[in-house]
């Protein structure tokens, strides 16, 4: 018994010691002014690039150190929302277009429209700037990167089927024909079309001249004929033998299916290509990237489009007058910082003229991936769909899409429901 008591006392003391240590490293709360900043991100693939930014800034400003923290995507938003609710946001954090309007319109983010005295912002494209704006047209983040969606294909399978590689002349018809031929020749899947918005049907909708949200973001576009036609085409792809159905994708991510040699094509974001090269060394030289195929007979426009999203660096509204944080933000938007980020080959910096650094990052591999295709696509890039109510309708529309794929509702009915979901969200504000 004595023994137990002694143990208990010891452990209590240990617990208390822990509590004390815990107090010591709790400096991540909002608005630190002791020169220690935290930067929160969700993409592990970009940790190195972010760390290099932190190091470079520390080099120039020895009294400021930045700690980079990575959380996975789902937890990032749970966490950020909780942090925002309790006024405890990290010093610097990435903002996504899905969420920025929600945060900006609720006065959670610092206004950085007037961050620069010079013309720094003029080096960013309109889309990049628009991706940082709240509903009031003010900027609530410093543009970080910009992206496009590209077509990734397996060269070996194309060779086996005797089909020429995808290029800028490709249309949707070429995509389906090649898929059929590859399936016939190799027994592997062709184009793997799965239920995804940014990496899937949005691209097709805009290529066909349709839209998801109208320009002033007051109504959904799922009732537009051009949208409906494109959606039917995209959803219908899974009817083919050469495309796995949605249940397959629920168990196997398209990227994993592709890199394990199960399918010939899928659509991927440019920011993941560097990771794919590094993670699958044995696949180097066996695959390449191309621009997205275009719509052969669009309802309007030239049939070309790729969804272009962009992240930004944001900080809490509380830090509006915090010089340490603001100076670092300012630096993040500078040409120097943006070039450094690009040179890691993960995200393409939003600052115009950093594209070459990004392309050059791929020179480290023996096989030269045609990453220029991703850059070329900026000519017809479409801003990623967002509005203030997007967090409300995003998951509901996704549920509805899954019902369409699962055959629980007809395509027409499902799309009508999607339209209603978005319009209702907008109406409720």
């Amino acid at each position: 018994m004595k023994h137990l008591k002694r143990t208990a006392v010891f452990l209590m003391a240990a617990a208390m010691a822990l509590t004390v240590t815990a107090c010591g490293n709790s400096g991540s709360g909002g608005g630190s002014s002791d020169g220690k900043l935290t930067m929160q991100i969700w993409d592990t693939a970009q940790r190195d690039a972010m760390q290099s930014l932190a190091d470079a800034y520390h080099e120039e400003n020895p009294d400021v150190t930045i700690e980079v923290q990575v959380t996975s995507w789902d937890e990032y938003w749970t966490k950020l929302e909780a942090a925002a609710g309790s006024g405890n946001l990290p010093d610097i954090f990435w903002m996504h277009t899905n969420q920025i309007l929600l945060y900006a319109d609720n006065d959670m983010l610092a206004d950085v429209t007037d961050l620069y005295d010079d013309d720094t912002y003029s080096h960013y494209s309109d889309i990049s700037i628009a991706n940082t704006m709240g509903s009031d047209g003010r900027m609530y983040g410093v543009p970080k990167d910009k992206d496009t969606i590209c077509l990734v294909y397996n060269k070996e399978m194309f060779d086996q089927a005797g089909v020429s590689y995808p290029d800028e002349t490709w249309t949707w018809d070429d995509l389906t024909e090649a898929s059929q031929k590859i399936y016939d020749a190799t027994g592997k899947y062709g184009y793997m079309a799965y239920c995804d918005e940014q990496l899937g049907y949005w691209n097709f909708v805009y290529q066909n001249g349709g839209y998801i949200l109208n320009d002033d973001k007051t109504a959904a576009g799922f009732d537009q004929q051009a949208t409906i036609d494109a959606m039917k085409f995209y959803i219908g792809l899974q009817q083919n033998d050469w495309c796995p159905d949605q249940t397959y994708f629920a168990e196997t991510a398209p990227g994993d299916a592709f890199f394990s040699g199960q399918g010939a094509m899928y659509m991927e974001g440019d920011w993941t290509l560097m990771d794919k090269m590094k993670n699958y060394p044995e696949m180097q030289g066996k695959w390449d990237v191309a621009v997205l195929p275009k719509c052969p007979s669009p309802a309007s426009g030239d049939g070309r489009a790729t969804i272009s999203n962009g992240l930004c660096y944001a900080t809490s509204a509380k830090n509006q007058d915090n010089e340490t944080v603001m100076n670092f933000l300012k630096w993040l938007g500078s040409e120097e910082a943006q070039k450094l980020q690009s040179s890691y080959g993960t995200a393409i910096s939003a600052y115009e003229g950093c594209e070459d650094e990004w392309v050059a990052a791929f020179d480290q591999f023996d096989y030269k991936l045609n990453v220029q295709a991703c850059i070329d696509e900026f000519d017809y890039a479409v801003q990623s769909v967002n509005d203030a109510t997007r967090p409300v309708w995003k998951s509901k529309v996704n549920d509805e899409m899954l019902k369409i794929y699962g055959g629980q509702v007809s395509v027409d009915e499902g799309l009508k429901n999607c339209n209603d979901i978005i319009n209702q969200a907008i109406a409720e504000g």
């Binding site: 923290q69 959380t71 966490k79 909780a82």
Partner: protein
């Protein structure tokens, strides 16, 4: 003659016992075997149809990738500290409360015990945001203490140990009082030692609960260096999607040292129950 059938039937019974134990063991252990085999395959081989049982070529790089993706040493340290402190808190506080609820008379006893019972019905997810906000207010998020926080007291432990004290005859306590022990001495010197097996069981349960806690560490701590094994593994899934060889390698890293610890201590725990149980 009679003894013959007896021993034969006993022989059959023993045979059946072994049969069921072995079949059951195979079912229990197979997922772990499969985890090991998968972790040694290349991604391409892992998705071959039909699946191969043994890797055609052993691929060690999955372990390298898993190892560089998560700071396992920190995850271990955090997990062990969190489990340890939560277990201690559960034992100390729950023993005290369990004893009081079982053996002492006081005003408000039923109401307070009701609070304990009802807590067990509440799903822990609803505590996440409010508890996070409490910690945020005092600036204690992003810390080891934050990991421990929700486990400072245990309603289940209180209930469980109350049951244990209920099983101890009142006479034992009364005898101790007659011997001149005060309330506290009766509790610590006489009653507490009698609940050894229940405390051992509670230790296991609390440790398992704490170890399994997934959502809380993810929300309260962002820094991967301040996470636990369970939540760290969940982030691995976020990174590698359905690349099972790497996921399995990561899972093995998370498990093997725990497994060793468990194999060392399982005697203490389970035989502890056995030894003190035969009252």
């Amino acid at each position: 003659m009679k003894t013959g059938t007896m021993s034969r039937s006993r022989g059959v019974a023993t045979g059946l016992t072994y049969f069921f134990l072995i079949v059951g063991s195979l079912l229990m252990i197979f997922p772990f075997v499969w985890m090991i085999l998968t972790s040694l395959k290349s991604l391409a081989e892992s998705v071959q149809v039909p699946p191969t049982i043994f890797p055609a070529k052993i691929v060690w790089s999955n372990f390298g990738e898993a190892l560089t993706s998560l700071p396992f040493v920190n995850l271990y340290a955090n997990t062990i500290i969190m489990v340890l402190v939560r277990v201690i808190c559960a034992i100390v506080f729950s023993s005290m409360a369990g004893y009081a609820f079982a053996k002492l008379n006081f005003k408000g006893k039923n109401v307070l015990f009701g609070l304990v019972l009802v807590q067990m019905m509440m799903p822990s997810q609803i505590f996440v945001i409010p508890q996070y906000q409490m910690l945020a207010k005092v600036g204690l998020t992003e810390s080891i203490f934050a990991l421990i926080f929700p486990g400072l007291v245990s309603a289940f432990g209180t209930f469980f140990l109350r049951q244990a004290y209920m099983g101890i005859p009142n006479e034992i306590g009364e005898a101790a009082r007659l011997d001149g022990c005060n309330q506290w001495q009766t509790f610590t010197k006489v009653m507490l030692p009698l609940t050894g097996n229940s405390v051992a069981a509670l230790t296991i349960f609390t440790a398992v609960f704490a170890y399994a806690d997934l959502m809380w560490p993810l929300v309260v701590n962002t820094d991967i260096n301040l996470m636990t094994l369970s939540s760290g593994l969940a982030t691995l899934k976020g990174q590698f999607m359905t690349n099972y060889p790497v996921l399995m390698a990561g899972s093995l890293f998370a498990m093997i040292p725990m497994l060793i610890l468990y194999l060392i201590f399982q005697r203490q725990f389970i035989e502890g129950i056995a030894l003190t149980g035969g009252k």
